[in-house]
């Protein structure tokens, strides 16, 4: 928590920025989704409004904003209106708990006639030191928005969709959480910074039955230590975000549009934002746990800082620190986008499951494999410690 | 060690039963029961029949603060009852081979638990331990009747349980009183029987409210219900009729003996004056039980109920034998306990066998069975003869000695009791006549269900019993010799009863031994 006005202001701005990042990435993602979908289906997609159809987003946004808000006759207002808002909260809070870039240090400086600093800032909304636990806890609240929407709409399709969605979320949360146990055991910490720090640098070094091996051409990423866990986590996150092939809650053929059948306009947009926020959180976690977080493979963190300060981009060390952090943030964003692309790719690649198949997959396949992964990792760790 | 092994082995067997697959339960149960019997026969070799002391003693402190210990010992009073228990169990297992067709796992486990509790109560030399075993026996029996019983089994089992429980609570109170009396007398609480015997409990003749009389009646009530004596016998017919065959056999064969054994072990030696003073009451009730049981048995329409009432009559003999308080009567009672176990057990088994064939026990529906089932009839009549105490069978020896003893103690009662000899013949033979003789009855005539004579298994069940009936009838000395020293000691020193421990073990913790050492 902040100590003086500057710090408080910066923190608040940071919070706002993170929220805005989430919100503002959504139109881009929607565009991307449409374009990629079109590409995969061998058609054009939006290409008339603006270059490459980029302005289409703006048009959509305007349309959403100006659509008439309507309310189902027998709906319950508190629920109905609360649900979209509730949809935003988990994504935003979870994203805020993930470090988006390297922390940076500001030297003491003079501004507006007084001395400020020195400061240490993190590229993260808040850090309680237990990282992933809070992220998981917060994102598990996502189910309420669905349930509230489903119940508040007074529509049986909505209700069914909501129930399906929340059951799905609760079920897959288990696999999701358990799949992370393995990697947490490998890194032996909850702190995101420690986890990223352990993934920094080259080469991939590991201990195999007391003997240290290293593979020179691979980065030190978590995916190599716990590939099974990564796979389960990734699959489970599809279900957690209600994306295809697990988008049963809004299975058009059966439930019209699931829990947001009765929504339109800005409220619907908020659900979309929530959903994409969820996807972003999942991608960010993926990147953080398994792909080195904000670090750049083959490049040492120090060399980025050196490059910024020596390359003349910024002369003042404070600005250099900030820029360095920004570069890491962009790298992180890139990684996140890569995973989001995979989400979109998968959407048009795999068919939808049946609901019972979904539940079977969650409880009878993923959960046991996640448990197995935990045990496997434990055994492996018992015999060969990672040389850190 | 031996006594603990004999007592606790069945408990282990019960656990074994629980883990075995259903298919092999019966053979394994039979095998284990036979093993237990074989082990119990070791008693005969390690038992010193010349000594009246309790032998093969084991004592481990249990609740030392209250002087309660795990105290097992055997003497001539309990030896044969233990062996009777172990002897009847394999027979019951074999006898219930087809009669019990559901939940056999639970049944055999219950049977073994029951065995432990019965053996335990015969061997326990600590009042609390005795009480524990005495009560423990109710539980498996409760389930046996309640689960595998007949139509009105719940009524019967609850009645059985409540009657017995009501009595034994009195006994528990009395035991606690005695434990405190030990503290007042010897300075330390003790539940050891040896200490109880040494207590001098004040007795005032002709007055009801004095310690010894009250304790005497408290114990007596518990045991009289178990025996059962005349006015508190009504649980027995119901329990017997509703119990499955093995349950009846164990109930009649051994459990009733726990009551009479209790009289022998607790009531008569501990409360010598009171039992002398109130002997007439028990003689009277015993005689009434004999005659009443026989009369009521005579008019029963149900074979099993008839046998149940005959138990009342037979146990009446045991009671008058005990309260005749002389060598003949007490030996006879002990002998009659064994007889009753064997002959009534055999009768229940036989009735079970015919019930398996016809699913009916109404005497009126039988008749002419002798023609259809000759071997069965032969065995039934042999057992009947044992039951009505025809010489050369075991029953005669017991009844003769009991009546002899009673005659010495009180002629009028003996003369009244002798009518039981006649009435016994009346009800048994009348039943035999109606069931086995005459023209073929409704059930026997049934062309669709021809009756089959006893098969090899059933013959195997009955053979040892028949052999014993004659062995005990022709050579009673073999059996009496083991108990003679104890009984002699019992009768001669009842007023000042002490039991020594042989061989004397210095480590024994109970007050008695310390007291003797001083």
């Amino acid at each position: 928590m902040g100590k003086d006005v500057f710090e408080i202001v910066v923190n608040c701005v940071k919070m706002l920025l993170i929220f805005l990042v989430m919100v503002q990435l959504v139109p881009i993602l929607v565009w991307l989704e449409r374009r990629v979908s079109a590409f995969m289906q061998n058609r054009f997609g939006p290409n008339r409004v603006g270059p490459l159809g980029l302005i289409q987003l703006l048009a959509d946004a305007v349309k959403f904003l100006f659509k008439e808000p309507f309310f189902p006759e027998k709906g319950m207002a508190v629920m109905y209106y609360g649900a979209p808002i509730m949809a935003l909260i988990p994504g935003a809070l979870a994203l805020a708990a993930i470090p988006l870039g390297a922390p940076f240090h500001l030297e003491q400086f003079t501004w507006l006639g007084r001395e400020w600093g020195p400061y240490d800032f993190i590229m993260q909304g808040y850090d309680f030191g237990v990282g992933i636990v809070i992220v998981l806890g917060v994102s598990s609240l996502g189910a309420y928005s669905l349930l509230m929407a489903g119940w508040g709409s007074s529509n049986k399709y909505s209700l069914l969709g909501a129930l399906r969605a929340s059951a799905q979320m609760v079920s897959y949360e288990l696999a999701l959480g358990l799949s992370l146990v393995g990697i947490l055991m490998v890194f032996n910490t909850f702190s995101f910074y420690d986890i990223i720090a352990q993934q920094t640098g080259m080469p991939l070094t590991f201990n195999f039955f007391g003997k240290v091996h290293s593979i020179a051409w691979l980065p030190n990423w978590g995916i190599f230590f716990n590939p099974l866990g990564a796979l389960i986590f990734f699959c489970a996150s599809f279900a957690e975000t209600n994306r295809l092939p697990f988008d049963l809650p809004e299975a058009e053929g059966e439930l019209v549009a699931g829990f947001h059948t009765e929504y339109g306009g800005f409220a619907l947009l908020m659900f979309y934002i929530g959903e994409y926020g969820h996807m972003m959180v999942a991608s960010a976690l993926m990147a953080t746990f398994y792909f080195g977080g904000y670090t750049i493979p083959y490049v040492a963190n120090e060399s980025v800082a050196n490059w910024v300060s020596s390359g003349g981009l910024a002369t003042h060390p404070n600005w250099a620190a900030f820029l360095t952090s920004l570069i890491f943030f962009l790298v992180f964003l890139l990684k996140v986008f890569l995973f989001l692309l995979i989400y979109i790719w998968v959407r048009w690649t795999l068919p939808r499951f049946r609901y019972d198949q979904l539940m079977d997959l969650g409880w009878k396949t993923m959960l046991p494999w996640a448990l197995f992964n935990t045990v496997l990792t434990a055994v492996w760790l018992a015999f060969s410690h990672r040389p850190v | 060690m031996l006594l603990s092994v004999i007592t606790l082995l069945p408990l282990a067997f019960a656990l074994v039963m629980l883990v075995l697959p259903e298919k092999v339960i019966r053979p394994v149960a039979l095998l284990l029961a036979v093993v237990e019997f074989a082990v119990s026969l070791l008693l005969l070799t390690s038992f010193d029949k010349a000594s009246p002391a309790i032998q093969l003693v084991e004592q481990i402190p249990w609740v030392p603060e209250m002087g309660i210990s795990y105290f097992l010992g055997i003497d001539g009073l309990s030896l044969w009852l233990v062996i009777l228990t172990t002897f009847l169990t394999p027979i019951v297992v074999l006898g219930s081979w087809t009669a019990i067709d559901n939940r056999i796992k639970g049944f055999h486990a219950a049977l073994f638990v029951l065995q432990t509790s019965m053996i335990g109560s015969f061997l326990a030399m600590d009042a609390v331990l005795f009480y524990v075993f005495f009560e423990l026996s109710l539980v498996p029996m409760y389930f046996m009747v309640g689960i595998w019983g007949g139509q009105r089994r719940i009524y019967a089992t609850v009645k059985f349980f409540i009657y017995t429980m009501a009595g034994s609570l009195m006994m528990l109170l009395a035991i606690i009183y005695l434990m405190f009396a030990c503290r007042d007398t010897f300075g330390q609480m003790s539940a050891s029987l040896l200490d109880f015997y040494r207590l001098k409990i004040p007795f005032v003749a002709g007055e009801f409210l004095n310690p010894q009389t009250l304790l005497f009646f408290a114990f007596s009530l518990a045991f009289a219900i178990k025996v059962p004596m005349f006015p508190v016998h009504t649980w027995l017919p119901d329990a017997h009729v509703e119990a499955p065959t093995p349950g009846s056999v164990i109930l009649a064969g051994v459990m009733l003996k726990m009551g009479s054994y209790g009289f022998l072990r607790f009531v008569l030696p501990m409360f010598a004056e009171a039992s002398q003073y109130y002997a007439w009451l028990f003689l009277f009730l015993g005689v009434v039980g004999i005659i009443y049981g026989a009369l009521v048995a005579m008019v029963q329409p149900d074979i099993k109920k008839l046998i149940a009432y005959s138990s009342v009559s037979h146990m009446g003999y045991v009671m008058i034998g005990l309260f005749s308080l002389n060598m003949y009567g007490v030996s006879g009672s002990l002998y009659q306990m064994l007889n009753h176990g064997i002959s009534t057990g055999a009768l229940f088994l036989l009735i079970g066998m015919i019930y398996e064939r016809t699913h009916n026990r109404e005497i009126a529906k039988y008749g002419g069975l002798a023609k259809a089932l000759p071997i069965y009839t032969i065995i039934f009549i042999i057992v009947t003869m044992s039951s009505i105490a025809v010489p050369m069978t075991n029953g005669f020896i017991g009844e003769f000695m009991i009546l002899l003893g009673t005659f010495e103690a009180s002629r009028p009662f003996a003369i009244a009791a002798v009518t039981g000899v006649v009435l016994g013949a009346v009800y048994m033979l009348w039943m035999v006549k109606r069931v086995f003789f005459g023209p073929a009855g409704e059930l026997v005539r049934d062309e669709h269900h021809p009756l089959h004579d006893l098969n090899a298994r059933e013959l195997t069940v009955m053979a040892p019993l028949v052999v014993l009936i004659f062995w005990m009838g022709l050579n009673p000395n073999f059996f009496l010799d083991y108990s003679k020293a104890s009984l002699d000691h019992f009768v001669k020193n009842r007023d000042n009863y002490r039991l020594a421990v042989s061989p004397a073990q210095p480590k024994l913790e109970n007050v008695a031994v310390r007291g003797e050492a001083q």
Binding site: - | K159, I162, Y163, P231, V232, H233, T234, P237, Y292, L295, V296, M298, V299, Q300, N326, M327, Y328, S331, G332, G367, G368, A370, K371, P374, M385, V390, P391, M392, F396, I397, F400, M401, L403, L404, F407, E408, A414, I415, V418, T419, V421, V422, A425, V426, L429, W430, V432, K433, F436, F437, G438, P439, A440, L474, N475, P476, N477, L480, K484, D488
Partner: protein
């Protein structure tokens, strides 16, 4: 020379082995094999007993031979040996039993040849003999009791041999239960004696009798013991009031009636009294009872015999009557005469029963004498032997019955324990006996044939008539060992000498016997002539003038009905004792057990239930109410703590 122990063992075990042999192959239909084995077994016993009895004769005669096998029971002061003894009393019995037994077994081979289960029959018969031998040879009361009950058991089994007939089974049961009543008395007698003398051994009891201590009252221990024992005897030997089983016992096969219910078992009571004669002499009141009961039984049974139509029933009542004679003899202190009559009666009654068996066999199981008559020409041998038996029983000299019966009657008249009235009853009974036996002869063998046309009577095979012949000879000569003194010129007969040591004379204290040859001759003449007159009368009634009995019965029809229905004794027993007992038992069951004791416990249960239902209202199953109790408890506790 075999030792006595082995001889005894063979003597006892031979029938037992026969029993086992036949018992194991009880399903066999081979009557010949079964019968031969059984007969041989009994014959072996007979030979052994002869060998043993022979030791009582001759120059180096011993007073008794005995052996002990093992100690049977030993409790406190009670030590019972499995020991057996043959003395002058048991010698006669054992010879009669095994001898007559052999003959009856032999007869049975023929009689039972068509039966379904001959092996079983012979097994029972052998087993009976085994028990009878135990009874006779046992050296103590307890062994005697073993045999006593054992023969009762066999009797039960044999009467109910054809058990599919409900009445026969009932007859067996009746026999056993009636015997049991006697046995109960016998047991009490044993107890009394044991506590009196501290032993149950016959010889020891007799040795320990107080010298000259005759009990005159009714309540002395010896009197009581004797009365108890006599109750046993009335049961076994079918005396008033327990005689009712014997006529019914005729339901068994006829040889069984001959063996058990005529010759051997029923005489066990007499034997027992003779065995303990010194004891009984100590208790004259008991002896009086014995004599009166015996005389009464003799008379009543004889009158019933007058009216019966069933050939075996007539013989049965005659048996009861003759047994009464024997008890009369014992009662007046003429134990020797009693035993003598046992022996002769065994001969002639067995003969008559077997003869009747032969008749029944010939008539294809017909027992009603009204359907017989004129059988003399069909069954000559049977008739001849039966005729000898008839002569014997009605007491025509020199046949066996005359000597024994005459001895009894004379002793009754002359003994200090006797009485004139008893003598009169005896003579009357002899007359009646003569009448109904003649009636039997007339109806069966003489006169016109009333045999149904479809029946073709035929003479029995040799295996059946040889025993008849042997018994006929015995019935003739058997009495010669006891020819009265007066006929021998004042010299003691063989029997007197034989019994000299074992049968005590009536003590001087009780008075002196009458010694008068003239009187004796006169008495003999009176009874003989009375018997002859009655026989002639009967012949007139049933052969010469067959319509007369009917008219007489019409005239005295009340009396006739009374006697024909056996004085309604059975009916009396049923109506006054058995049925009330059963009703009372049902009442006990219904009112005491179910309605009183159980009801009482239910009331207790209701009290508990009432308490419980009050408590139940706190225990509604309403979870919130429970939670309320917790909350209230919490509040109160907190308040008390933090107050």
């Amino acid at each position: 020379m075999m030792s006595n122990q082995i001889l005894f063992a063979i003597l006892l075990l031979a029938p037992f082995v026969g029993f086992m042999f036949n018992g194991i192959r009880w399903k066999s239909h081979n009557a010949t094999l079964a019968g031969v084995v059984a007969t041989f077994a009994v014959f072996v016993s007979f030979v052994c007993s002869l060998l043993l009895v022979s030791q009582l004769f001759g120059a180096n005669a011993v007073p008794s031979v005995g052996t002990r096998f093992f100690e049977w029971m030993n409790v406190g002061g009670l030590q019972v040996q499995a020991g057996f003894v043959i003395d002058h009393i048991s010698a006669i019995m054992v010879l009669v039993v095994t001898g007559v037994g052999t003959l009856i077994h032999m007869f049975s081979i023929g009689y039972m040849s068509h039966d379904e289960r001959p092996s079983k029959y012979f097994a029972y018969l052998n087993f009976f003999l085994f028990n009878m031998l135990l009874l006779i040879l046992g050296e103590n009361l307890l062994l005697m009791f073993v045999g006593w009950e054992g023969v009762g058991l066999c009797s039960y089994l044999l009467i109910g041999f054809w058990f599919t007939d409900s009445e026969k089974a009932a007859a067996g049961m009746k026999a056993f239960i009636t015997n049991r009543i006697g046995d109960a008395g016998f047991l009490l007698g044993i107890f009394t004696l044991f506590f009196l003398f501290g032993t149950v051994n016959f010889s020891e009891i007799i040795a320990r009798l107080p010298a000259g201590g005759i009990e005159m009252g009714w309540t002395g221990p010896m009197t009581v013991a004797c009365l108890f024992l006599f109750v046993g005897a009335t049961g076994k030997s079918a005396q008033i009031p327990l005689y009712v089983w014997l006529p019914d016992a005729m339901a068994g096969p006829t040889p069984v009636s001959a063996l058990i219910h005529a010759a051997t078992m029923v005489t066990a009571g007499v034997y027992m009294i003779v065995r303990l004669n010194p004891l009984f002499l100590m208790a004259p009141n008991a002896l009086h009872v014995v004599a009166v009961v015996g005389a009464a039984t003799a008379f009543f049974a004889a009158t019933i015999g007058l009216t019966q139509w069933d050939i075996k029933k007539i013989l049965a009542y005659s048996t009861v009557s003759q047994l009464g004679y024997m008890f009369l003899a014992c009662g007046v202190g003429a134990f020797g005469a009693g035993l003598f009559h046992v022996m002769t009666h065994a001969f002639f009654k067995a003969l008559m029963f077997l003869g009747s068996g032969s008749v029944i066999h010939a008539m294809h199981e017909e027992q009603d004498v009204r359907k017989m008559g004129g059988l003399r020409k069909y069954l000559p041998i049977t008739h001849a032997t039966f005729f000898i038996g008839w002569l014997a029983i009605i007491g025509i000299p020199p046949f066996a019955g005359f000597f024994s019966k005459d001895e009894i009657l004379w002793q009754t008249a002359s003994s200090p324990l006797g009485h004139k009235a008893l003598w009169v009853v005896g003579v009357l009974t002899a007359g009646i006996t003569s009448f109904y036996m003649t009636r039997l002869m007339c109806l069966t063998f003489w006169g016109k044939s009333r045999v149904p046309k479809e029946t073709h009577p035929h003479e029995a095979p040799p295996v059946m008539w040889i025993p008849l012949a042997v018994l006929a000879v015995l019935s003739t000569v058997g009495g010669w060992i006891g020819i009265p003194k007066v006929m021998l010129g004042g010299e003691d007969n063989w029997l007197e000498r034989w019994f000299h040591h074992v049968i005590a004379p009536v003590p001087e204290a009780l008075g002196h016997a009458v010694h008068s040859h003239a009187l004796e001759w006169a008495a003999m003449g009176v009874s003989l002539s009375f018997a002859v007159i009655m026989a002639c009368l009967a012949y007139t009634f049933y052969v010469s003038n067959p319509s007369l009995p009917g008219r007489l019965a019409q005239k005295f029809h009340g009396t006739y009905r009374l006697i024909y229905n056996k004085y309604f004794v059975d009916e009396f027993y049923f109506a006054r004792i058995i049925n009330p007992l059963i009703d009372a038992s049902k009442g006990l069951w219904a009112y005491v057990d179910v309605n009183f004791i159980d009801r009482t416990t239910y009331v207790l249960g209701d009290v508990v239930r009432g308490v419980g239902s009050t408590a139940k209202s706190f225990q509604t199953g309403n979870l919130q109410q429970y939670a309320m109790y917790i909350a209230v408890g919490l509040a109160v506790t907190m308040f008390l703590i933090l107050r």
